[in-house]
């Protein structure tokens, strides 16, 4: 009772931020990055164990953000900063104003835009689970972006309609990808998977499009 855990993400150190940037620019190999991230996750897990939490997370330290990271794992996606997306949205002024109003940095937040047929080419989180298992015997919580968040964020009509025609058709593949991942997570012995659906509050509380966020 009263199990203490986290929602998922942990602050990135300056070294890790540099590593994420270098990997994105292809100036750091996957292997070099993983060695850096492994060490950061070790420290993050140790801090949680020292604090005495009951269910441990890996801090999502390998991820750029909690949903954009799938661009590395799913074929048919392209990582785009919100500034790049600005080029494609119809109402540029409104999009820019929204980012400013929301205090959302256009260059620092990236989106996994659908640009082709989606196919899972690597595990989204199961590999991360296998690593954290080597660090602790405590239960682990694994986090994944939810199907609604992914569908809404990934669909950018000018890029996505070529492969899918319509958003609900793409959503079918998003569901399949998440089901494949859940299956792999169960096989890997996951005890707790949390789906993140932050945009649901926006759907019910925004009223009109003026407060639509960038996700």
């Amino acid at each position: 009772m009263f199990s203490v855990t986290q929602v998922g993400s942990w602050p990135r150190s300056p070294q890790l931020l540099a590593g994420l940037r270098e990997k994105r620019m292809k100036r750091m190999s996957e292997q070099q990055f993983n060695e850096l991230a492994d060490n950061e996750i070790r420290r993050c897990v140790q801090l949680q164990l020292d604090a005495g939490v009951d269910i441990v997370v890996d801090g999502e330290l390998r991820r750029d953000n909690f949903y954009s990271f799938i661009a590395e794992k799913v074929e048919g996606t392209q990582l785009m900063s919100l500034a790049e997306m600005l080029e494609t949205v119809e109402d540029k002024a409104a999009f820019e104003e929204m980012l400013q109003t929301l205090d959302a940095p256009a260059y620092a937040i990236r989106n996994p835009t659908c640009v082709g047929k989606l196919r899972r080419r690597a595990s989204l989180a199961a590999e991360d689970l296998r690593f954290i298992r080597t660090l602790t015997g405590k239960p682990v919580k694994t986090t994944l972006p939810g199907p609604y968040l992914l569908t809404r964020a990934m669909w950018v009509t000018s890029y996505s309609s070529g492969a899918y025609g319509d958003k609900p058709v793409m959503a079918d593949d998003v569901v399949s990808i998440l089901r494949e991942e859940l299956e792999e997570l169960v096989d890997a012995g996951a005890e707790f998977v949390q789906f993140d659906e932050p945009v649901l509050t926006e759907v019910v509380h925004s009223g009109d499009d003026k407060r639509r966020t960038f996700m």
């Binding site: 009772m1 890790l16 999502e60």
Partner: protein, 149 residues
């Protein structure tokens, strides 16, 4: 969501996390409003645990979810991931006692309202503050366990 979860019930604990944004430390730019309009959606959703914000006043009353869905597990958001000091242990205990009016102790989990760094380049906190907040929840859990065993 249920299409994703179909067939997994009982094989793994599943949760859904719904918050009101975590990209800025400015409370005024994040979304506001209680969970009432989402109650039906949660009721239909085949998840074991609702991982929800309740430390921020923007999330409204805990009883809205407590009255409607006392049979689920609650991941009780009891510390704000965006502030610079850790919440007092007493305030977390108090919030949890409020949850106990609706849920049994076994079904109450303690967590922050959201992550401490959802966007790598826009982390909303620093490591030592985050660790202090974890410690405050752990201390609160110890008190709650002794009071409820």
């Amino acid at each position: 969501m249920n299409r994703v979860l179909d067939g997994f019930s009982g094989r793994i604990r599943t949760g859904i996390h719904v918050c009101r944004g975590n990209w800025s430390k400015r409370e005024d730019v994040l979304i506001s409003g209680d969970y009432a309009p989402l109650v039906d959606c949660f009721r239909k959703m085949n998840v074991d645990q609702l991982v929800l914000e309740f430390a921020t006043p923007r999330a409204g009353e805990l009883a809205i979810i407590g009255r409607a869905l006392p049979d689920r597990e609650i991941g009780l958001g009891c510390v704000n991931p965006r502030t610079d000091t850790a919440e007092s242990v007493e305030s977390i205990v108090e919030r949890s006692n409020e949850a106990l009016q609706h849920w049994s102790p076994e079904n109450v989990y303690l967590n922050p309202d959201c992550g401490f760094g959802c966007f790598a380049n826009r982390c909303v906190n620093e490591e030592d503050v985050a660790a202090a907040k974890l410690k405050a929840m752990v201390n609160a859990a110890e008190i709650l366990r002794s009071e409820n065993s």
